[in-house]
Symmetry: C2
Subunit: 641 residues, 2 copies
């Protein structure tokens, strides 16, 4: 057998190996350290190297795209030498970045060509007034209104009594020069006068931001983006668990809690505390004050919006499942209870139905699917799993309760995707030892949604759990043990964890994860069936949700959360709800489109027959009862066995 | 000299008297009691009798109209026998009624052809909704909105968050039949959606009133009319002194008080207490609840409106005298502080300038002068004396501070025109003994505005005061004495009064009355001069103000308050401010006209030069320095001497 020289760029000494030698073996000989967290199974992709010269044969390319292969990448654990080769070993960070596209929260792109003057309903303007005299005894408000009209070209302007009470002193304190903030447009009354929101003596530096906030109230997680409405830039992003979580993990349990005496008001205050806290946190980051925030757009599912506004939620749960209102009128901060500017506008985005809320209308807008000729399957993976299918021609939607497992709640050591969260895991198929990556590079404190998907996939592929999700107690390793919550697998020993305690995953956790993924899969598959559009003909699958940016599509397919399709059809959009709120905050035409989209979507009630239940039960397996629906996973399993 | 038989209808025995005998003397002979409170001076008109047969010569017809004379009336003290005559002595009540036209508050006429459906912005309507089902999961608000649109033909409808919170339970409590009150029009946003103000389960009796209130906030007196908006009828009228009165009698002293620490807020609360108390009182009379009042229109001078709304008033007093706002936006009851329905609309009528407020815009509308080809002089006789002059072609206006004397305040024993107030007085020129008429026929407790005018005129004509207003201490009667406040005249002895104390008028009181009448006279005469329109060419003098209905034109001319003109040019309109508010409450087109009128009036600033001051000083006499301006008064005085 021919010998070949293998040269690694990071060492001066080449090694000589026979044809058919794995690159990982050659690296071992050359004393080059290539990580193989998955134990050389070709699953983790962490051993990817770049072939700069010579030929290798790739036995598996599971974690490589066709572009990767064209570019010369090969998995060291899955590729064998066929000639003399020169190999570049990329730094680990570079590999990680390539493998987990958009892993970190990308800086949000301001919409191309954003022009606050043209799109933004809020205007800040400084005006000089001619002072009154015996020849001109015009009242203060008429005087200001005339000056504002001249300056802005806005016709009618209204003023609140509160601001009217401050008007005369402000005009005189500013010696008849004042800076006004006006709102020129609301979705529910396009013909109404513009509204004067604030007035301050003197002028302001034009670079001073004009603050707005886009808010997503998830059942589990609340997200706030603080936006400079003048530049359109997101200046701070913060998120936190919804304070209501201790009163029920999903919308149904919240509704039940609300029906108790005082429960509705308690839940309202809890979520207000969360939002007000987040706004304060975001403002601190940019050295602003909450009372400088002049507008918020709020997205969220219908139950969350109802609870925020103190609207009764009981009928959302009772057949025929109707909301009090889907298209919420424009409100003011004090009546909602937000601790921002007292004249600030609160614009809750419109929902479609009890279980397809503003988060989905916003998500559709931020995906752009409603304008596309391509048929798109849009999935919002949160505590509620909502699906929208369609194109510029048609839009259908449905919802199911997935539970909060993928947001790290309802799982013993689950947590949000923040510092200290394990976000990706590989399990060595020989040793059943885990390797993981932690957000922020610190000691792990728990596992976030993407980590849980990764963990479940690895446990399944290594045989650590069976297709029913039960931990394989036949494996005699000390990481598998009986705990307080039944059988569990120790992912991190106390000594290595940031909490000083073992981090485990239990059979109960796995069951919750299975229910979540089964509900989502059943939702979109029944929806596709109900409109007679085959899933495999979908052009694009767009995935939103608070952890959408982090999800590993391969592993999500392996557990049967996402349909088994070519990877390039998948697009991860992150939190599409807050992004839609952000877009609607910037542009009144886009805001109008959210209303139109909410009106266009046809809601399909999944509870109307048994189809959903049947599909759900079939999906309660890894990846699914019907393995033929997951051909690539079938291949991996066959490889394994 | 020929003898004639005089026969009185109320006695069987005729008397025989020579030609030239006064009818009052004939009556005395016939033992017929004819009252002559003025001592036979022909001033009081109380001795009017009806000549049914024969001829008499009327030496004076001062208190008779030409229609009276044509109808056969003669004053017994001023008419002499020229033939055999038959005389009917009318009952005193009938004379009183004839002498004091419209003495009692006339029932307010609902505007001819009032059609709530066409004019009234508020609509009450009962709708039946199709309940939701699995085939129709429309949200509650869209369902109600659609039903209301079908029923009312109103396009867009808005709802407040408060009402939205009650919506779902109300719909279900009413088993999908509900009664709504909508406001379809506001002056400041005619293109805004209609607003749902209230919603109740089930239906209501169509005869149940839909309550609104017209309010006039005078500096001295606050008036409230409670109106059924469906029929347009005024169901209750109540009035009370403005609770702010103890903090200053005129607008200037109120403004000064407001500038003290907390003064503004204190004054706001005081007038709110008065208004809320009056609304409660009015509601009690018709067995309604204040929270059933769905709308109010509020009139008043600019300072009163500013204080009500908590707007700063300092600049009203400081040159160049500008208000914070003249055209107040539509407000809601809670933000103003009115204890009526929480969604009730508060519509403050527009003013023209700091000293020509909504009361004058409302007054003009209620006079109709702005639509007339005739040139009208409109006087609002209140604590502020405002004048409007003009026609459908032009309108000019001015204001002066008259003080509250004519409203019974600032006068030791002054009071409002309610039960127990002396409203007309005659002084016997021989005995200087007074006779008076008391509202409600009870023992007198004080003197109201019309009584004070009457008193001042009588005191002047009987020589009890001189032309400078000083009480004639040379008259040796025990009713004239030195009191705590200087020289005073005892009008009612303690034994006859309702308070158990003497009722007096002092030199200080008279001085206040002189200032008030001089300011008003100076105001309209300078205004007429400034536009070059001679006063005598005015077609009509229309008099408004809280006591306008009771005023005795003859006596008002005698003291120089009103110009000396043929009596038929005078029209007494009563409280034109509250009446204008009432008209604007009923009809949105009339409400629009108030705005137009306020915009059309040209304000003349009297303080701009010395003309007003000069005119005021000349008018500080009875009736005036220049007696040639008052030819009829000159005649009376000459008769006297």
């Amino acid at each position: 057998m021919a010998e070949h020289t293998v040269k690694f760029d990071i060492t001066e000494n080449p090694v000589s190996v026979p044809t058919g030698t794995l690159l990982s073996e050659a690296a071992h000989l050359a004393e080059v350290d290539i990580q193989q967290p998955c134990g050389g199974q070709g699953r983790c992709g962490r051993c990817a190297v770049l072939i700069t010269d010579g030929d290798v044969r790739r036995r598996s390319t599971l974690r490589l795209t066709s572009e990767d292969i064209k570019g010369g990448y090969a998995l060291a654990c899955q590729s064998v030498v066929e000639s003399d080769v020169s190999i570049t070993v990329p730094p680990q960070e570079k590999i990680e970045r390539r493998l987990t596209t958009d892993r970190t929260v990308a800086e949000v792109q301001v919409p191309a060509g954003y022009d606050a003057h043209a799109s933004q309903p809020l205007r800040r303007t400084t005006v000089h007034l001619t002072p009154p005299s015996m020849d001109d005894q015009t009242d203060d408000w008429s005087r200001l209104q005339a000056a504002l009209r001249r300056e802005t070209n806005i016709g009618e302007i209204s003023i609140s009594l509160d601001l009217l009470r401050q008007l005369s002193p402000i005009l005189r304190e500013g010696e008849w020069q004042v800076t006004a903030v006006l709102n020129s447009h609301t979705w529910d009354c396009p013909d109404c006068p513009a509204e004067l929101l604030s007035l301050a003596p003197g002028e302001v530096d034009p670079d001073t931001p004009l603050w707005g906030a886009a808010i997503d109230i998830g059942t589990t997680t609340v997200s706030v983006w603080l936006v400079d409405l003048l530049s359109g830039e997101v200046k701070a992003q913060v998120a936190e668990y919804n304070g209501q979580i201790s009163r029920g993990e999903d919308v149904i349990s919240r509704i039940i809690y609300a029906s108790k005496n005082g429960g509705e008001e308690e839940l309202r205050k809890l979520v207000l505390d969360t939002i007000n806290g987040l706004i304060e946190m975001a403002c601190k980051r940019v050295l602003a004050e909450p009372n400088q925030v002049m507008k918020t757009t709020i997205s969220g599912n219908s139950t969350m919006i109802h609870l925020l506004l103190g609207l009764p939620v009981a009928n959302i749960r009772l057949s025929p499942f109707v909301t009090a209102i889907n298209h919420i009128p424009t409100l003011s901060a004090p009546e909602v209870g937000l601790d921002i500017h007292p004249s600030a506008i609160v614009d809750c985005l419109p929902g479609v139905a009890s279980y397809v809320g503003a988060d989905i209308s916003a998500g559709v807008i931020s995906s752009g699917m409603e304008e596309s000729e391509q048929t798109t399957l849009f999935l919002d993976v949160g505590t509620n799993g909502e699906t929208v299918m369609g194109s510029s021609e048609w839009l259908v939607t449905c919802a199911c309760s997935a539970g909060p497992a993928f947001e790290g709640a309802g799982v013993l050591h689950g947590m949000r995707a923040t510092k200290g969260a394990i976000e990706e895991i590989w399990i060595n198929s020989d040793t059943i030892e885990p390797t993981y990556r932690v957000i922020g590079g610190v000691k792990p404190r728990g596992v976030c949604g993407s980590g849980l998907i990764s963990l479940l996939a690895e446990m399944f592929l290594t045989g650590l759990v069976d297709k029913g999700g039960a931990i394989n107690t036949a494996l005699e390793i000390d990481r598998i043990r009986q705990g307080e919550h039944g059988t569990e697998y120790v992912l991190v020993w106390a000594a290595d964890s940031g909490t000083g305690k073992d981090i485990v995953i239990t059979n109960v956790d796995i069951d919750n994860l299975l229910r979540a993924k089964a509900a989502i899969y059943a939702g979109f598959s029944v929806l596709a069936e109900s409109v007679g559009f085959p899933l495999e003909m979908v052009d694009r699958v767009m995935i939103g949700g608070s952890f959408g940016k982090y999800i590993n599509v391969e592993k999500a397919v392996e557990i049967g959360l996402l349909p088994d399709m070519p990877w390039d059809r998948f697009h991860f959009l992150g939190n599409t709800s807050v992004k839609g709120a952000y877009l609607a905050l910037l542009d009144h035409k886009l805001r109008q489109r959210v209303t139109e989209v909410a009106g266009r979507m046809t809601y399909i009630e999944l509870s109307a027959d048994n189809k959903f239940y049947d599909a759900f039960m079939s999906a309660m397996f890894l990846p699914h009862t019907d393995l033929s629906l997951f051909p690539t996973v079938q291949t991996v399993i066959q490889d394994r066995t």
